[in-house]
């Protein structure tokens, strides 16, 4: 698609803005759905920031895959290879965090911070090496850091969408097991469920969603797509099924709106718009949700206060003492 024929917003919204753009929108919406659902499990399991460590530690793998691709296959732009590299180094990052937490005196927060920054730092070193390789292809890597939906190729979208669907399918099949370990891992273990293996599968699905998210949301912001939908949906219900559906819907809408807006305006980066859309959903839920929302709780508190004062006043008048 040449840049001067930018389709109108309505055309894009209804998937009529061209074959490629329709594919991008469908792919990103599905990604939002998958990330919303997997992310809900992850936040319930209290592993929100673990996925941040995972995303950042994908960078060196991405770079190594690019360098290998350039020297071995002649081109570093193979998306499957890049994703594989990112997934491997991301998984190493997560394993390192867990090793540090269980075998040394570092707490989880410090372990995450250390792994996240050191892996990313090493990735930056590799990136500066790549910039001097003179392949002219290193621009492609930037799409993985900041996220870029516009320039995706159809073959890449097929791969990313297939991965997303596999994740969705696994999350659907393992619904009962994941629900159990999210709420009460101790009980699950006592019931004879292989908690460690299930945790590993969950983490594996998170790895897939994360590296798929690199391409459209970027590795710095992909964590938002994992955390925000689940947290926002949590305000509306106490039922796991509803929270999962809500998280999926919020994630999907964010992906859809973000990719539509960014494909009509080149200065609206897809990743940032997707995250800000999810952020708007969050803000709305935080303020207006019934029962758990901020405003309704403010009202409750004022009411309590009022009732308490009234009672106090009544008691004082009855006893005839009064204040002062």
């Amino acid at each position: 698609m040449s840049p001067e024929v930018i389709p109108t917003l309505f055309e894009v919204l209804t998937l009529q803005g061209g074959y490629n753009s329709a594919l991008v929108i469908i792919g990103t919406t599905l990604l939002g759905l998958a990330a919303g659902i997997i992310g809900t499990y992850v936040t319930l399991r209290k592993r929100a920031l673990m996925s941040d460590a995972l995303a950042h530690s994908g960078l060196p793998g991405l770079c190594v895959a690019f360098i290998l691709g350039t020297y071995v296959f002649g081109s570093g732009r193979s998306v499957p290879l890049l994703l594989l590299g990112a997934a491997i180094s991301g998984a190493i990052g997560v394993a390192t965090v867990q090793f540090l937490v269980s075998h040394t005196r570092l707490r989880e927060d410090a372990a995450i911070g250390v792994v996240l920054s050191v892996f990313f730092g090493f990735g930056i070193v590799l990136l500066s090496f790549i910039q001097h390789m003179g392949t002219g292809e290193e621009g492609g890597l930037h799409h993985f850091i900041y996220g870029q939906t516009a320039a995706m190729q159809a073959s890449d979208i097929y791969l990313l969408t297939a991965l997303t669907l596999i994740t969705l399918f696994s999350a659907f099949i393992l619904f009962k097991e994941f629900r159990l370990i999210s709420f009460d891992p101790g009980y699950a273990a006592a019931q004879g469920w292989p908690v460690q293996k299930l945790d590993l599968i969950m983490m594996f699905l998170v790895v897939i969603v994360t590296v798929v998210g690199f391409r459209s949301v970027g590795l710095i912001l992909v964590i938002a797509l994992l955390i925000i939908p689940g947290v926002a949906a949590r305000f509306w219900s106490d039922k796991m099924t509803l929270v999962l559906v809500g998280g999926g819907l919020i994630g999907a809408s964010s992906g859809y709106i973000g990719s539509v807006i960014s494909s009509t305006n080149p200065h609206m980066p897809a990743g940032a718009i997707i995250v800000l859309t999810a952020g708007a959903f969050f803000l709305f839920s935080f303020l207006f949700a019934p029962k758990r929302g901020f405003l309704i709780n403010l009202v409750y508190r004022l009411q309590d206060n009022y009732r308490f004062r009234k009672q106090l006043l009544a008691e004082n008048m009855a006893s005839g003492s009064g204040n002062d």
Partner: protein, 448 residues
Amino acid sequence: MIESSLHQFLSVDAPAILAALFASLACALLGNFLVLRRVSLMGDAISHAVLPGIVIGFLVSGSRSIGPVFLGAAAAAILTAVLIDLIKRYGRIESGASMGVVFSIMFALGVLLIEQASARSVDLDADCLLHGQLETIFWFPPSTWTTLLQFSTLKELPQELLMAGGVFTISVALTYLIWKELKIFSFDPALTAALGFNTNFISLLLMIILAAAVVVSFKIVGSILVIGMIICPAAIARFWTDNLKVQVFLSLLFSAFAVVVGYFLATMGVRYIGIDYALSASGMMVTTLGVILMASVIAAPQYGIIGRAIRNFSLGISTEREDMLARLYKSLENEGRAILPMPAKTFRDKLIKFFARRDLKLSGLLINKGLSETGMAEAQRVVRAHRLWEGFLVTEAGLPPDHVHEPAEKLEHYTSAGMASALSGAQQDTTKDPHGRDIPELKSPKSS
């Protein structure tokens, strides 16, 4: 005259190293308190979240002058800290998720603002903010030594260097002034509040100074690597000491070491592996910190994994040594001969048994036909401790007799002579244990 190679060092390398040094020392100093308070990721959150503040400050003032940029960043940092707390408290969400929500939205806002600004061809570069641009810090030093230290030449020092130096000085001064308060606050915030200190004020002060350190580090190392500059040095120092003062000094030392080594590795070291251009110096500094951390995790004497494995192993040997003696004693008691079955399930078990047996033989406690005289005395001591504990646990602690073997099996290894006599003093019958077996008398090896 200053010769040309030195002149180049003064104009390119020295300002970059010094600026990075000041920025990273300030970060490392503050990181100590974050790591101890278990809020390391506040550094992560703030370093992401100041981005929109910086961009807005930049757009409003229309220049890179540090004042408005700093104000914007500080405002964003305070807003972030407040929002995280607000959402955690009123949304009833765990702090990790709350941080993730706030900082990722703020960062997305920053990225969008940068894109919008570059659409209007304002010179702001996302890459610069992410990776830092240490390489762009220059100084034009004078050509002779005599003018080097004059005010007019020093005035021309790069702004980043002066800012980093300023923030470093302020954080050192602050730490020095409220050292006592910071110390209690780091270990026991509740006690700090109970003693009448305003903990909210201390944490806010810490966050503001942290924001300042993050802002000056942005240009130098970038928004994500600064997290490493904050957390890594303190995390490394924790492996080497339990003393806060020592920890702070060590963290500064490691931080300075990583800056200098990282810089030279990236600019000159790489030439030895055939790369004739400079790699990212800031990335290399954090990578160096990572290598130091890895070395500490492995080799630190007290908290490293090797040291801990060795201590575990030698404890295993001394425990097994006593268990062997007790087993020999019991087989003599039951069957009249000393037999020592050695079923070992794992390789580690086998090793431990081998060394325990070797140790018993070398120290003369075990001889060919069984226990030597001294070995017998030592075995009696262990068995006596075991049976005294069993008796004590039944009569004094009220445990049922079939539940006391397991705890006694552990406690016997930690029973000194004094404790054994205290145990026997606490019981009426010290001749039989709850299972009806004789408790061996304590006798010195000489008298038998």
